[in-house]
Amino acid sequence: MPVSSGDTAWLLLSSALVMLMTPGLALFYGGMVRRKNILSTLMMSFVALGLVGVLWVLYGYSLSFGTDSGGFIGGLNFLGLMGVGQEPSTVYATTVPHLAFMIFQAMFAIITVALITGAVVERIKFSSLLVFSALWLTVVYCPVAHWVWGDGGWLLNLGALDFAGGTVVHINAGVSALALVLLLGRRRGFPGQAMEPSNIPLVVLGAGLLWFGWFGFNAGSALTAGGLASSAFVATNISAAMAAFTWMVISWLHRRPTVLGTVTGAVVGLVAITPAAGFVEPLAAIPIGGIAAIISYYGMLLLKMKLGMDDSLDVFACHGLGGIWGALATGIFATVAVNAGGADGLLLGNGMQLLKQLVGVVSVGGFAFVATWVLGKLVDVTIGLRVGETEEMVGLDISQHGERAYGGLLR
């Protein structure tokens, strides 16, 4: 098929938008930790741009999107971008250069690795995080991306729908985060000691960049610059808006309408609409976003306050629960009227679709949990996952990076 300049322009721009989400996530996470760990937290996200950005072109893309092997993993035919050039692929995004599709996918792999780090901040050893991230990309991300999006992937063949990565990115990262939390344990002082966010304005800036970049994430996943992209764009905005507002109201009923809660709600709404964006009518994003905020809010209370689990920045409650709800909601609200390549959902009488979505949730969630636990354990018994007590008390900025966020004596 000939290259479409409109589609190519949109996909390249979308790739740039999704790239910006990772520094956005860095700020979103960085503002939520204590002052002594802000740089290390920023770094954990930002370094994914460096690490995954290279591994992806060397072999990650090939393992995810190379010639199928039994529905489970891609082949080595795109190793080192072999055969990935200016001509479109014959199976993926056939109206844009193959390189554009490849780099768009690279940005997804990068942010997925970065998302996990929110669960382990303020105590994981930086070198161990790097080793874990490389292993996780290879053993968990690439296979799952292949199952869901790769030509011949078993979940794709089954008909499980994931428009922009609710399963591949959010359930995958959220559940993996939970497994790492169990391995790593709580931060010293949790839960007795209040660990106050050091810079909520940074969190707001980060959430704003995430919302902005998410238009590339979701509307870009149409892979064409037309009606479907527009529909996904609108659904994305509605869900973020609805979830932000809903979270604010719940927080207000509790006591006060907090800023941290409201921007968190926006991100949860974006998570939940991700798998559904291009398969549902835009207005379906109102219940999808609203319910996502409720599930995530109470999930957070249960996990952190009641069960005392130190998923430090609530990666499972936001991305795991938000992603699971979004995947199931896709099976409820989907309609072929929006996307002929999709399916009808439960509300249009196709309960099977909800079941297929459930298979996606359980298989990806189960695989991610077990594989992450094994990889994490491997890193822990070899080089150790956690920093020493003194390093943790002093803070990871100084102990891991030899830097401090706010230097200088004079104001």
């Binding site: 209040a194 106050e196 509790h254 006591r255 941290l260 809660g261 968190t264 957070m300 209370l301």
Partner: protein, 112 residues
């Protein structure tokens, strides 16, 4: 000479400053401090759930006055920093051995 260290509520600074100035005590040093006392902290909210902050932000005013001026200055501070609620702060009064004005080298009473 005595040094008055007054820990007060942040929002009371302007009133205290004005009252001291009206009594001709112009010089002072103000710093942002954190502390705790009978107020026992305040609850704040996370994304979901609450936490308690026990070290609360206050302001510390430091000024050095002649012995005979202490009660006037302290009264001015108390009158303008008090709300009657817990958390109004404390005042400490310390003896001062010597004072030097950096610009001139003047000492003690001449330097206050």
């Amino acid at each position: 000479m005595k040094k008055i260290e007054a820990i007060i509520r942040e929002e009371k600074l302007e009133a205290v400053k004005k009252a001291l100035e009206e009594n001709s005590y112009f010089g002072m040093t103000v710093s942002e401090v954190s502390g705790r006392g009978k107020q026992m902290g305040i609850p704040l909210q996370w994304r979901a759930g609450e936490y308690r902050v026990d070290l609360l932000p206050k302001l510390k005013i430091e000024l050095v006055v002649l012995d005979e001026d202490v009660s006037v200055a302290v009264d001015a501070i108390i009158r303008n920093a008090r709300t009657g609620e817990t958390g109004d702060g404390k005042i400490f009064i310390l003896p001062v051995e010597s004072v030097v004005r950096v610009r001139t080298g003047d000492r003690d009473e001449g330097a206050i």
